[in-house]
Symmetry: C2
Subunit: 107 residues, 2 copies
């Protein structure tokens, strides 16, 4: 087995929301749709119960910076700070190693 893993990048976005989140779901859908169209986008995973965790995956740091500066995304970020989030934290990470488990479908 050759070790040909190519590092990529993850953005870990953790957040807590305000009680009133009018318009949030629509915007989240829109931003997910938009992110997927960005150059260098690799994937996205999201879950919320109490705390929300969204992790998006990108080929390069440049791709992350471009997405952060994307016009409609900038507007969404502003709206998020204004209305939806009580707290959030963003971590930009280099994925250095990974492994996966998939259950045998026969069992």
């Amino acid at each position: 087995m050759t070790n040909d893993f190519k590092p990529y990048y993850a953005v870990i976005f953790t957040s807590t929301q305000n009680e009133i989140i009018e318009g949030y779901a629509d915007m989240a859908d829109k931003m997910e749709h938009l992110a997927k169209q960005q150059p260098g986008f690799l994937g996205m995973e999201s879950a919320r119960d109490g705390i929300g965790i969204t992790v998006s995956y990108w080929e390069t740091v440049e791709a992350i910076n471009n997405w952060k500066q994307q016009t409609e995304h900038l507007q969404a970020q502003q709206k998020g700070r204004q209305d939806w989030y009580s707290w959030y934290k963003v971590r930009i990470c280099k994925v250095e190693r990974e492994y996966e488990f998939l259950r045998n479908q026969e069992s």
Copy 2:
């Protein structure tokens, strides 16, 4: 402002579960309790709706490797593959940059 950010590490654990997850919640509590006692542990965030995402934070890669090899944790991992998870993926990441938003409590 000095730029004195010290990189640390994140383990992104994403998973989907089987329908029967007897014993899972107890084990998850136990593992969280145990992780917090490990040298180099910095924090943990977890959410599940459909997909589960748990991110744990560590000072070094060595701390992550030690936790992975911890005896009771090894047993939990085995049980997870045997009974609870239909799929999981583990990504070991270096956190290179971070920023945070906290709502002004007066507003």
